[in-house]
């Protein structure tokens, strides 16, 4: 399905927002402004956005520890996300969750996750709910190459087939799980072959290529919506930063991330293509860049100024209030 100009500009804006968000968090973390564990998504933007442009707000996704990109693409409020990372009362989770637990159920975002492999079972549940309620909504579980080896992932893929669920498993293969190479940890070699073994169609795409992701995800999501069950998509990507902020990354060959950034960056690829063949001017993209930079600047300054959670928040929300 051809994308309209508006959709293309939206895709660019979302990818740029994720990039700018992550670059800024990287700087703020290094400056000691942010506490805790932070995992950046820079380099992988086309996966989140390529998938999410096929979803409605009511569709559900489950994310990972590297969740900022999924959140932004799914429509979670950006200043609220930044405030959450700063541990503020104004954050998406009122400062109780932090980077690894940003969630917004109203936006269909079932949470980043501190547990590798925590998401796929939840997405079976979201897909089951959609099926039982007849909503035609779908659920998308994002996993990493590392999470692809987790028992919960295998069990969920099998269950999704057994129950013919409208579930899509999107594996973002960035080559590493922490410091361990995907080549070492994935016994079968190919993620797609393994998914087919669970009885679902599987595709492998260049995850830097927004159009490739968008098309593969579109097909999988249409299949799920029309009752034809689960699918699997492997997106091959690069992680521009360390596993977590502070990772020295000596396990990577020198220059690996820099080379990917210089030669195969999702934003550059996208801009090159749409300015050549979609009638979009570079100035239109530059305008978006400026607007996004202002958005992120504003998000950081408001996050810094926002209040910490009140002491009275400490014991609330463990159980329902009566």
């Amino acid at each position: 399905m051809a994308l309209t100009k508006d959709e293309l500009l939206k895709a660019y804006r979302l990818m740029r927002t994720i990039r700018e968000f992550e670059e800024r968090v990287h700087v703020e973390f290094a400056a000691g402004e942010i506490e805790g564990f932070v995992h950046l998504y820079a380099g992988e933007e086309a996966c989140a956005v390529g998938v999410m442009l096929n979803l409605t707000k009511a569709d559900r996704i489950a994310s990972t520890h590297r969740g900022h990109g999924h959140c932004i693409a799914k429509g979670v409020d950006v200043p609220a996300m930044m405030a959450e990372i700063y541990g503020r009362a104004t954050g998406s989770c009122r400062g109780k969750g932090g980077s690894m637990h940003i969630a917004d159920l109203d936006a269909g975002m079932m949470g980043a996750n501190g547990i590798v492999g925590g998401g796929p079972p939840l997405i079976c549940g979201a897909a089951l709910a959609a099926k039982v309620q007849g909503t035609r909504q779908v659920g998308v579980a994002f996993i990493g190459d590392g999470a692809s080896n987790q028992g919960t992932t295998f069990e969920s893929m099998n269950l999704a087939t057994v129950w013919n669920l409208p579930a899509i498993f999107v594996a973002e293969n960035n080559g590493y799980a922490e410091a361990t190479a995907a080549d070492y940890a994935i016994g079968a070699g190919s993620l797609a072959d393994r998914a087919e073994g669970f009885g679902m169609p599987a595709a492998t795409v260049d995850g830097h290529d927004f159009f490739a992701v968008h098309e593969a995800a579109g097909e999988a999501i249409r299949r799920a919506r029309s009752g034809d069950g689960p699918s699997f998509i492997e997106c091959q990507v690069n992680r521009y930063y360390g596993h977590y902020e502070g990772d020295a990354q000596t396990y990577r060959p020198p220059g690996e991330a820099e080379a990917a950034r210089a030669n195969h960056d999702c934003l550059d690829m996208f801009a090159g293509r749409v300015t050549k063949s979609a009638g979009i001017e570079r100035e239109e993209l530059d305008d978006i860049d400026r607007a996004v930079a202002a958005l992120i600047d504003g998000a950081v300054s408001s996050a810094k100024a926002d209040p910490a959670p009140a002491a009275s928040e400490f014991l609330t929300d463990v159980y329902v209030d009566y």
């Binding site: 080896n149 590493y176 020198p254 959670p309």
Partner: protein, 336 residues
Amino acid sequence: MARTLTILQAINEALDQEMARDSSVIVMGEDVVGGSGAEGEMDAWGGPLGVTKGLYGKYGDRMLDTPITESAFIGAAVGAAASGLRPVAELMFSDFVGVCFDQIYNQAAKFRYMFGGRAETPVVVRTMYGAGLRAAAQHSQSPYSIFTHVPGLKCVMPVTPYDAKGLLIQAIRDNDPVIFFEHKGLYETEGEVPEQSYSIPFGEANVVREGNDVSIISLGLMVHRSLEAAETLAGEGIQCEVVDLRTTSPLDEDTVLESAENTGRVVVVDEAPPRCSIATDISALIAQHAFDALEAPISLVTAPHTPVPFAGVLEDQYMPDAARIATAVRSVAGYA
């Protein structure tokens, strides 16, 4: 000869000495080496905080990086233990036990009893616990009471480098499954550690400060905070006896009861939430067996019954600190 080491170094040394001594000792876990299959350096991480760094260079294939597949590799450690090895498996954060608990509590813990005493499962699961790092709800818990509850598991939580080395060596040589808890806020704690190998028996609590007015029974990071409180209180004329449990299974009931009988006033300090906890267990023990000696109600200083919050202002309230411990001690000391 003793030198000053951190807890992190003491754990590394214990693993090193046991691997050198006994070729059946292997180490496995996610990135305990780091760099497997990658084009850069091997031993790039040596565990997420570098605890196992350097061991790969000495022991090569006996240091196993695993896929992220805790149920399989913790279970494999259990199975290997029942088949002649002495595996030390690293469960990176104790919060992750949800993924692999069956292999620990239905398998490892029960083999000896369920098989009529005919099985040995000398496995060690090393695991990080504790709050204070802004690591939020799924990376900050102190779930030792869940493991302590299970018959067949031994639970150890060292708070000094000396204890870390001696207790880990004991854990590796022990013929039962041992869960070895490492507080992430204590790795840099320094202390004297002998170079030679030694082991510390389980089930021996340590009286880390003597005093006759109030007993503070504690474990893990809270031992340090209890000592801090005791120091302040000494200046006010309240002499505290601080007991470090060191192992919650087996539990040194005698030392706990002796201390309670000596002072008649008890504060139990525990970083975990209060329901079905080590704190409630200790206080039940004292209420049952030292009731006549008590001169005040037992006071518990614990985390609240909530998950661990992210924001600093909330997490700092979550963890008991020296001030809260001191307040509890004052009120117990003043009870008439």
